[in-house]
Symmetry: C2
Amino acid sequence: MGKSKTLLFTPAQNELADLAKAMAHPARIAILQYLSNRKSCVNGTLVAELGLAQSTISQHLLELKELGLIRGSIEGATVNYCLNTERWQAVQSLFEGFFDQISATDHLNFCCD
Amino acid sequence: MGKSKTLLFTPAQNELADLAKAMAHPARIAILQYLSNRKSCVNGTLVAELGLAQSTISQHLLELKELGLIRGSIEGATVNYCLNTERWQAVQSLFEGFFDQISATDHLNFCCD
DNA sequence: ATAATCAATCGCAATATTACGATGAATTTA
DNA sequence: TAAATTCATCGTAATATTGCGATTGATTAT
């Protein structure tokens, strides 16, 4: 981020931006969609599914995990990842709140025509 | 993005990621919220509001503009920026579709406990 | 006309992200 | 036990993002 200026903004703004950042890469979108289709999955399955290296996917998974968007549990030699549905409900309402605020512009955009 | 791998993903995945990226910075969140509160605004007003340099804000505005999220119209020596509400409706439903897909996991997360 | 204001753009520096191969620790299979 | 599998982590390179000051072109005010 170059220099970080997070202190200039509210915690809510920073949190929303962080969550958006988690979705700001097509690989992570694809991972999340894949997880929503299966009961669970392992890293290796994703390597076959997406065209990325194992270490790259592991990194994306870590990013999603650190934000609490997914969870992983060790299952022998493999790891099962799945969506953290409670967390996603919170995320969804955060974004809904933002979208509502955006669309609650009670004025017409007469200024930009 | 290091090397870009957009070709690996669907257009829908790339589009969602691009839109998320637009929201992936607290300054841009703040700009959008500010625009939703006022009829319009100019770059200079934002410089006073946020603690960033004029050129930095101009850059953020450009990013939002390129995605069609805001529009600007020259008004003499100043520029009025405002939200592109039609565009935001489309964006909102894109994200809603994604969130619905995510929360439509008809299984319990028995795997990660 | 001259000065002041406004916002885009350029050039640059600092930092973050993305990606990969290699390595490592753990488990499983042979 | 030895080899193979699975996934995290490390190191590194390429690229993107963020931010600022300086400059520029345009408009407005004096």
